[in-house]
């Protein structure tokens, strides 16, 4: 970095868009004042599998304000999936209403368009649909084991010899861990306003990845990509559910075409259970072998999950087990069962969030068996080489995370024996877990526009990036301030329009590294060009305003692009962390609470500690949600989600959380990228549930292997062998 800049990279400044958010002026998808707008409401199937035998739309069409009712009978023909078991990704098409087949309960089977929201909602209930129900819907996880398939080439992995490793072990832990179906549930309901103009469509939509969204929409409707524009100035949370284009977007685009007016669709909270993705249920079987001194000899991680009947999404739960610990012998498998449920899709830290619950619980169980401090057991099995890819880590400060966290937390005060640390009716426990999260970095473009206003430079950054709460506006502004040498107040950031230069969008923890390096490249290019024009040496410091003046320019624009280096490709790039938790469990009622948490993260250069802290505590909160109550249940006789509202699906509330200390390790990972940035958005959620579950074990002597850990489960759980009822 060239200059010390009080508002540049690394400064804990307030969010640059903060005033808009606290005054209600930030504009989310359904809030663009599009004139002449009408409202559409999707209709959902009420069977899990079968065919629609008749649809009667007469009454709905006659209802006040109704402009159109679209079903598979009159829907326009869209591009559809050409083969079964199609592997979906973030730019996959989103066809809807293309046949009379029903694949799961809650699938869209129609849409009603009306003048007002109330009219559309009501008329949607007036459409009468009859079904022929198939008698073999696949709705029971337990009954589909025989149909499990091998989803992809890299679904199986092994190194060394598991059998040999287990034979060498003094102790073996073999346990199965279950994580339920979970839902992302960003606070902003998925929404879109679609507007056609001369054969071109604009979608104001809550999407995380705009370039991919334009691809998905254009492929779905078979129109050129240049005729699709997606605007997402502010996105009210995503957590993965807004990565891809979901079918409500298609419904809106289709309906807008049909009625010749802009159409708004706001997905209901109940529809967000069935139509905007989910984290699938995972059954993870761990087998760990270790010697009495704590040396790991074997580690296997077998995952069974589900996908939809026709599409494939696989969450790589076993990823953490491939690279986190120094086990010479390891095996990872992933299997999927087709079920009549909607297709799962990435939810915050797909793989790590769930996989780490299994791995870090099993590690804790082994430490208990070995009578070893679980912290030391983890440290003993640290590795500086990625044994999976057989290459070095760009940087790995896991041991530092664990030790520094232990010191801050007061780990030494932990009682080895469960049920011995008590206060009144409370049993108190400490838990620890290690975290790792892949830290990708992707090709990113950016544009900078400079304007000389009186004697100062005002800069505008443009990228099709999104800010889903992650702080993109702020960190891009700080990056521009840093590399242009101007205060952040003179930088304006424009995001969320697919007409801007292409970025990878927000997802997979690549946002900060990719966006900022892209912005950096544009700014560096601009300065370089202005210097080159005047033959000023690159290392000579000249204020930007002066440079523009010397170039006799009042306006200047420049683009830039950043992408991974060959060094990046030669290394494994991960962020690392450690979680510590103190929980209090009521000895009788099964109610428990988090008393405090400590999180340590080694995630490269921290661009803004204030927003980075937000990312971490946000991850911790969602991780706490996994442990406390988050769970979507499938009704065993009908196949619908019986948890269908925010009153049934309990995400954490304010009182569920407690004080959190976050420690960042000072690190700049220059192999990762020029600015030394690694991802932090998903690190925070990783292994949180395990740290809490491990703390609950330390408190109660009960090992909770199925999430969430509700009072009813805690009441019924037995004590682990070796635990004394005190």
């Amino acid at each position: 970095m060239k200059t010390m800049n009080k508002t540049g990279v690394g400064a804990a400044i307030d969010r640059v868009e903060g005033h808009l958010k606290v005054t209600g002026k930030a504009t989310y998808a359904s809030e663009f004042p599009i004139e002449n707008k009408v409202y559409a409401q999707g209709i959902n199937s009420t069977i899990a599998k079968g065919t629609i035998t008749s649809i009667d739309t007469t009454e709905a069409e006659k209802a006040a304000g109704v402009l159109a009712v679209i079903t598979h009978k009159n829907a326009e023909k869209l591009n559809d999936f050409k083969k079964d078991r199609y592997q979906i990704s973030t730019d996959t098409i989103a066809p809807v209403l293309q046949s009379n087949k029903v694949h799961y309960y809650g699938e869209y089977v129609g849409v009603v368009v009306a003048e007002t929201f109330e009219q559309a909602q009501y008329a949607a209930r007036l459409v009468k649909i009859e079904y022929s129900k198939a008698n073999d819907p696949k709705i029971h996880f337990g009954k589909e084991r025989g149909n499990a398939f091998f989803p992809a080439e890299d679904s199986d992995y092994s190194r060394g010899d598991m059998e040999k490793g287990l034979a060498e072990a003094d102790e073996v832990v073999e346990q199965t861990y279950i994580t339920p179906i979970e839902h992302h549930h960003p606070m902003e309901l998925h929404a879109v306003i679609a507007e056609w103009n001369n054969g071109k469509v604009t979608a104001y939509a809550s999407q995380q990845m705009l370039e991919d969204a334009t691809i998905a929409i254009s492929d779905t409707f078979q129109i050129p990509q240049k005729d699709v524009r997606v605007v997402a100035a502010y996105v009210g949370g995503g957590f993965g559910s807004k990565l891809n284009v979901e079918r409500h977007v298609t419904l809106a685009v289709m309906a807008a075409k049909k009625v010749g007016r802009p159409v708004q669709v706001t997905v209901t909270r109940t529809q967000m259970f069935t139509n905007t993705g989910l984290r699938q249920k995972n059954e993870q079987t761990m087998k760990i072998g270790a010697k009495q001194d704590g040396t790991l000899t074997a580690l296997s991680h077998d995952t069974l999950s589900h996908t939809s009947p026709n599409l494939v999404y696989q969450e790589p739960c076993g990823m953490v087990s491939k690279m986190l610990y120094n086990s010479p012998n390891a095996k990872v498998t992933e299997r999927l069962m087709p079920m009549n449920l909607q297709t799962p899709f990435a939810m915050r830290a797909p793989g790590e969030a769930t996989g780490s619950f299994a791995l870090e619980s099993a590690m804790d169980e082994m430490a208990w068996k070995l009578k070893m401090d679980p912290l030391e057991f983890r440290i003993k099995n640290d590795t500086q080489t990625d044994l999976h890819k057989n290459r070095p880590f760009s940087s790995r400060l896991l041991v530092e995370c664990l030790r520094i966290g232990a010191e801050k937390f007061g780990w030494k005060n932990r009682k080895d024996q469960p049920r011995t640390n008590t206060k009144g009716n409370w049993l108190i426990g400490y838990g620890v877990s290690a975290a790792s999260r892949n830290s990708p970095y992707l090709k990113t473009h950016a544009k900078v526009l400079l304007e000389l206003v009186e004697d100062r430079v005002e800069a505008t950054m443009q990228m099709d990036a999104t800010d889903i709460g992650t702080g993109t506006y702020t960190i891009v502004a700080q990056t521009a301030a840093e590399y242009l040498g101007i205060p952040v107040e003179q930088v304006k950031v424009e995001l969320g329009d697919s007409n801007f230069p292409v970025t990878p969008g927000s997802g997979g923890s690549w946002g900060a590294a990719s966006y900022c390096n892209g912005a950096r490249a544009a700014c560096e290019n601009a300065v370089k060009k202005l210097k080159d024009n005047r033959s000023i040496p690159e290392d000579k410091e000249v204020a930007l305003a002066e440079l523009l003046k010397q170039n006799q320019l009042t306006k200047f624009e420049m683009t830039g692009m950043a992408e991974p280096s060959t060094e990046f490709e030669k290394h494994s790039v991960f962020s690392f962390g450690a979680n510590f938790a103190e929980v209090w469990v009521d000895k009788d009622t099964g109610m428990w609470k988090i008393e405090r948490m400590v999180n340590v993260g080694a995630a490269g250069k921290i661009l803004n500690p204030k927003t980075a802290y937000g990312q971490i505590i946000g991850g911790l909160t969602m991780g706490a949600g996994m442990a406390i109550a988050e769970k979507t249940d499938v009704e065993p006789n009908f196949g619908n989600f019986i948890t269908r509202s925010f009153a049934d699906y309990h995400v954490p509330v304010n009182l569920d959380m407690a004080n959190i200390d976050v420690i960042f390790l000072p690190e700049e990972d220059k192999i990762a990228n020029k600015m030394g940035i690694k991802g932090i958005g998903e690190l925070g959620i990783t292994s949180v549930a395990a740290s809490l579950s491990n703390a609950i074990f330390n408190a109660t002597g009960k090992r909770m292997r199925e999430l969430p850990i509700t009072p009813e489960k805690l009441i019924e759980a037995p004590l682990e062998p070796g635990v004394q009822e005190v």
Partner: protein
């Protein structure tokens, strides 16, 4: 939501006169409007009763206080006379929902709350309460939050209110006005009903009757009270099981006791046998445990709510202990 006409009643007479067979009275709307959006409630007329005169708390002739049906839950729970004289009621009310909802929800409306059974909410599922004759989806389905007492084969839903559990423990009378202008008083224990073969009926109110007041007798349990609410998260969740416990201690003996449980039956579940057992006994954990056993002895859980028996037992003991610990 289905179309309906909206009328704002200026006084009780006007409200009562306007009622028809498919009218609903609209008070706070926190439950009714939600259920209308879900298409579970389908009135074709709403008569807004928010502006009626029954919006205060006043002393009554029996030495107690009367709660206006149209007064909201926040103002009721926070009223100095209620906090001082019926803190068990305040505590139960404050455990419910959130500040925003308590600011809207009324006392009358709280009594009229409908079950949170998910089969009741989802119109594509069978539910005898919502659609008589369609069956009970929960009985062989997801019944983790369902009843363990007093259910029928037609319905195993529970009543969701916290306020009502405290009222059941304390005892009260509900005053209602009939469309003809006359009024009657219903003992609180007879206000809600068990499902039997008419699960669509939650209460013994007759068509068109309007709740106007809830009468409380002399102050109760102002020293020894506790409302224990066990739920899946620390706040903003309905109870898995709740217990309202109130005790009066004289000369070291329990002279008066109020005990009721929520989340276990179609109505707030008064634990009469346990109450009887405790009267005249010492407030010891041993006695509390015996009372809890009596309270739970007739519990008959389903596949997924077996935990409620043990949880209920522990909850009764804990609520009584907490009530005692207030002054201990």
């Amino acid at each position: 939501m289905r179309p309906f006409t909206y009328t704002n009643a200026k006084n009780t007479q006007e409200a009562l006169q306007q009622t028809t067979a498919t009218t609903h009275y609209l008070a706070g709307g926190t439950n009714l409007v939600d259920l209308m959006k879900e298409d579970v409630e389908r009135p074709d007329q709403l008569v807004d009763v928010n502006n009626l005169e029954f919006n205060k708390i006043e002393k009554n002739q029996s030495g107690g206080w009367s709660l206006g049906a149209m007064l909201n839950n926040s103002d009721t729970a926070n009223h100095p006379d209620i906090r001082k004289n019926y803190p068990l009621l305040s505590m139960a009310m404050l455990s419910a929902a959130t500040a925003q909802i308590r600011n809207m929800a009324t006392n009358g409306g709280n009594l009229m709350q409908r079950t949170r059974c998910p089969y009741f909410f989802e119109t594509s599922m069978p539910c005898n309460k919502r659609e008589p004759g369609s069956g009970c989806g929960a009985i062989d389905g997801m019944n983790a939050v369902h009843a363990i007492f007093g259910y029928s084969k037609e319905c195993i839903a529970t009543h969701p209110s916290d306020m009502c559990v405290a009222l059941a423990a304390m005892g009260a009378e509900v005053e209602v006005q009939k469309p003809d202008g006359s009024s009657r008083r219903i003992p609180f224990s007879e206000f809600h009903r068990l499902p039997g073969d008419r699960p669509e009926k939650d209460t013994n109110l007759e068509k068109g009757e309007l709740i106007t007041q809830i009468h409380l007798s002399t102050p109760q349990f102002s020293d020894n009270y506790y409302y224990l609410k066990i739920r899946e998260r620390s706040s903003y969740a309905f109870a898995l099981i709740s217990v309202a416990a109130g005790l009066s201690i004289q000369n070291g003996m329990i002279s008066r006791v109020g005990l009721a449980m929520g989340g276990v039956a179609h109505k707030p579940w008064k634990l009469s046998e346990a109450e009887e057992f405790l009267k005249g006994k010492k407030a010891t954990t041993e006695n509390f445990e015996k009372a809890a056993e009596l309270a739970m002895k007739d519990a008959k859980p389903f596949e997924k709510n077996k935990y409620k028996v043990e949880m209920g037992t522990k909850a009764v003991v804990r609520a009584l202990q907490q009530a005692i610990n207030r002054t201990a």
